[in-house]
């Protein structure tokens, strides 16, 4: 494709905009229910962290008019034993088959489902079911030495997690200056505004599930395994998803429980998770404690870096937060140690959350770089530029495009970096003002995807793929891709996604959907063009094609290049001198994410990603009761996410250099890039404003008083 594009790269408004602004977009919990066909399910969750269920008392629930049935492990044969993680047709973070036995591994585990004719009765029944437990000893604290500690070799994306490069001790001995510090990040929850919801409908031996999932194909395969059906007997529909940020990425037990309940009752079942269910049912960003030592020559050249992470997983989950990732790729440092350890705790299962490992890891690394810059007396922008990895340090391959220093320079210009003063020296009235910077990055991934494209005699087209738009703008991007290739306008292209009966695409995670579908869509359009040349023009013509290409996982490929997006985030903060209140009047993000296919939706996504980082920096924390292992604040009233009044000017710029080696449209992913560097940029700005270094997120008022 030439660089001259007609529709790609234009700020096209979302083609699903009318549906989303008129209430016409139907999400998974929106299926018609007034006809009384549906049963409503409400989960019963464990209230203890470890032990066994000794019995249920359902007497009161059973008396309620409209109550239908209670399901639990006592009906365990309803669900087929899933073989995670060995069944490679699906990925889950929680590997236990729901209801498989009476064991309890954490507070909030699904132990039963109350089914009733109405939601009100199902809720009342679930609340009235009494559970007796035989409790076991539990492990709750990250420091609990009696619980198991894993040291996993590789992350979920195939990245090595225990890395030794060069000789760290020698590098440290060679250095003139070094910093060593420990940084912590708390448990955080994705909290999409749409709670997960599953509506399961059986028709003979076929199962249709409307599910709020970021990966409909993965979800279908999981449901097929858990119901003992073949994949083609299961259809998952998810035309609209109300955000995910990772918690709807892998398949989770509630979907299977709803499917099993519908089979057991012979009725369609709807299970909508409550907001508090969301805290224990579909993962969270785990707590991390990261120790970093970073050393350099007096001219700023890094000589040694050690990044050690302690995090946690549940007894039935396998997620490891790969915090050391940024230390492996951002900077040239000949002597490197990266380690990861995971404590097994009786707490709910963690899962990837927007920038998993990258965001928590970048907070630690990019804070340490700031600390080192201060100690060296070198400008933090300059220090980053001096050490920016010119090639991928993992394998010495060139980056497919490399604009890390350029992003830093442009960002510095936009925020007015030259105004920056020494820590604590910039006062305006009662406010302390500061500027901070951090590098942001995200690996570029690409997975296989197929697509079917149809051209109609009236010169309109349709594209069909089993992928999902979780809010990224994929509907619009697909229309633009097909329009570009076939010489149409985006408005002439109908987009059908969110249905596993269509040609298979990837899950919406790892910021990879756009890059992945590019190959399939381009191939299908090319095949269609060939047919078009021979067609009469009065019949619809259709072509289906796919791309098997998988890139970026484990940093490996046979193209001799590495694919990764860099960027720079700058923050201006104003801190009230007496009360420690932090305001963020301005954030700047400059990103090199390949070709930007739609600057309107891309800008929104970067802004949203940066706001996610504001939450991480300033507000978000799920508290764990150290005694019971319970989450203390599982609600949007007590878990704070940014509100409109917290957000001011956010400035986004793209380098917009196409990466045609990566895919035919030249795009890399953008979903997580905005989030990764934002928290450290803010923390560094707070340091610059106040002279106070906060190493434990979120930054609180009392840290600054």
């Amino acid at each position: 494709m030439t660089e001259q594009t007609r529709v790609i790269g234009k700020p096209v408004s979302r083609i699903d905009g009318v549906l989303k602004t008129t209430g016409g977009a139907h999400y998974s919990g929106d299926r018609k229910s007034s006809d009384g066909a549906l049963l409503h399910g409400v989960l019963v969750k464990s209230t203890v962290a470890a032990g066994y269920i000794a019995g249920f008392d359902t007497a009161e629930a059973k008396q309620m008019p409209g109550f239908v049935r209670f399901l639990s492990y006592e009906d365990g044969d309803l669900i087929y034993r899933i073989d995670a993680p060995n069944d490679d047709s699906f990925v889950v973070n929680e590997q236990r088959t729901p209801f498989i036995d009476n064991q309890v591994h954490f507070v909030g585990q699904h132990i039963g489902l109350a089914l009733a004719e109405t939601l009100e009765v199902a809720e009342a029944a679930a609340a009235a079911i009494l559970v007796e437990y035989e409790e076991d000893s539990r492990h709750i604290a990250l420091d609990d030495e009696d619980s198991d500690l894993d040291k996993p070799d590789a992350s979920g994306t195939g990245e090595a997690l225990q890395v030794h490069r060069g000789d760290f001790d020698e590098g440290l001995a060679d250095a003139d200056v070094s910093v060593s510090a420990t940084y912590t990040t708390p448990v955080e929850h994705h909290n999409p505004i749409e709670p997960s919801a599953t509506t399961a409908v059986w028709d003979g031996d076929r199962l249709t599930v409307y599910d709020a999932t970021q990966g409909n194909v993965n979800d279908r395969n999981y449901l097929a395994a858990g119901t003992g059906l073949a994949k083609d007997q299961v259809r998952v529909l998810n035309p609209f998803i109300g955000g995910g940020f990772g918690c709807k990425g892998y398949a989770w037990p509630h979907s299977l429980i709803a499917a099993a309940a519908a089979r057991a009752t012979g009725r369609p079942v709807r299970l909508v998770l409550s907001r508090s269910d969301m805290y224990t049912s579909c993962g969270h960003r785990p707590q991390t404690r990261q120790s970093i030592t970073l050393a350099a020559k007096s001219d700023g050249t890094f000589t040694a870096l050690k990044h050690e992470t302690l995090s946690h997983r549940s007894p039935i989950g396998d997620h490891m937060e790969p915090c050391g990732m940024p230390s492996m790729v951002l900077y040239d440092c000949p002597n490197l140690v990266v380690t990861h350890s995971n404590r097994v705790l009786n707490r709910p299962s963690p899962t990837p959350m927007r920038g998993p490992g990258e965001a928590s890891g970048a907070f630690a690394l990019e804070s340490a770089v700031d600390e080192l810059a201060e100690k060296l007396g070198i400008d933090p922008v300059e220090l980053r530029k001096r050490n920016a990895s010119q090639m991928d340090p993992r394998n010495s391959r060139p980056w497919s495009t490399f604009n890390h220093p350029e992003c830093l320079d442009r960002g510095a210009e936009r925020i007015g970096w030259s105004r920056r003063k020494s820590p604590g020296q910039w006062r305006e009235g009662n406010e302390l003002v500061g500027l901070g910077v951090a590098t942001t990055y995200y690996p570029a991934y690409r997975s296989p995807a197929a697509a079917r494209v149809t051209l109609f005699p009236d010169e309109t087209a349709k594209v069909e793929i089993s992928v999902q738009d979780i809010g990224t703008g994929l509907y619009t991007i697909l229309a633009q891709m097909v329009a570009e290739k076939l010489g149409l306008e985006a408005a002439d292209v109908a987009v059908e996604i969110g249905d596993t009966d269509l040609p298979e695409g990837p899950l919406a995670g790892g910021s990879m959907t756009t890059a992945s579908v590019s190959g399939g869509v381009a191939a299908a359009c090319d095949a269609l063009q060939e047919k078009r040349a021979q067609a009469s023009g009065d019949e619809a013509i259709s072509a289906e094609a796919g791309s098997e290409e998988s890139l970026g996982f484990g940093g490996d490929n046979d193209m001799g290049k590495s694919f990764l997006s860099f960027g720079a985030i700058f923050a201006e903060v104003r801190v009230d001198k007496d009360f420690g209140i932090v305001r963020i009047p301005r954030l700047v993000g400059v990103f090199d994410a390949g070709k930007i296919l739609n600057p309107k939706t891309a800008r929104s996504q970067m802004i949203g990603g940066m706001i996610f980082g504001v939450g991480m920096a300033m507000l978000e924390e799920t508290f764990v009761d150290p005694e019971s292992g319970r989450f203390i604040n599982p609600s949007l009233g007590e878990y704070y996410v940014p509100v409109n009044a917290d957000i001011h000017d956010i400035d986004v710029e793209f380098i917009d250099e196409p990466d045609y080696d990566f895919n035919p449209f030249g795009a890399r992913g953008i979903g997580e890039l905005g989030t990764v560097g934002t928290a450290p940029a803010i923390a560094n700005a707070v340091y610059n404003a106040t002279g106070i270094r906060v190493r434990d997120l979120p930054i609180r008022l009392d840290d600054l008083m």
Binding site: T22, G23, S34, T472, I607, G608, V643, N644, A645
Partner: protein, 162 residues
């Protein structure tokens, strides 16, 4: 389980219905009338996704018992456009890309339509404050503010006395 009967107007249509006394306006709209444009994000009055207008005022449908709406007039997102003609707030939201996943969007729109008639000042900061009861986890806030400002100006121009 106690039941009750109420009648009210929803998007201009009179409704009389018998339902469980525990039914919230939100569940009534969604489960009984299939008006699923109004969303449930928390069911506790903490997210704003369920915002509707009751007698022209914005209200959280999850905190309102349906039985207490007897005799009231309710407007939901489905009742806002005039046929194919979108309300200025809906139009401006599309133009300014004021949503991503769209799940908070009905609530944002109902809130913005109602706030246009409330005594807020003109600045962006006033809009931010007035719209802070409506969470958007996708982080569309700056675009929402831009859209609300444009729509407010348009509404003021079209109905100078309103």
């Amino acid at each position: 389980m106690k039941r009750t009967t109420s009648s009210f107007e929803v998007n201009g249509t009179r409704i009389s219905a018998e339902f469980d006394t525990r039914t919230t306006l939100l569940d009534f709209l969604r489960e009984h009338l299939d008006l699923t444009g109004t969303k449930k994000g928390c069911n506790h009055g903490q997210c704003g996704a369920c915002t509707v207008m009751i007698d022209g005022q914005r209200s959280l449908a999850c905190l309102t018992l349906a039985a207490l709406c007897d005799g009231r007039s309710i407007t939901t997102i489905e009742g806002l456009a005039n046929g194919d003609k979108l309300h200025p707030v809906q139009k401006a939201l599309i133009e300014h890309d004021g949503f991503q996943c769209g799940y908070c969007t009905s609530g944002q729109i109902m809130s913005a339509v109602a706030m246009a008639k409330e005594p807020w000042g003109e600045s962006d900061d006033e809009v931010r404050e007035a719209m802070s009861g409506n969470l958007c986890r996708c982080g569309a806030y700056p675009n929402i503010v831009a859209a609300v400002q444009e729509a407010r100006a348009k509404i003021a121009k079209e109905q100078p006395d309103a």
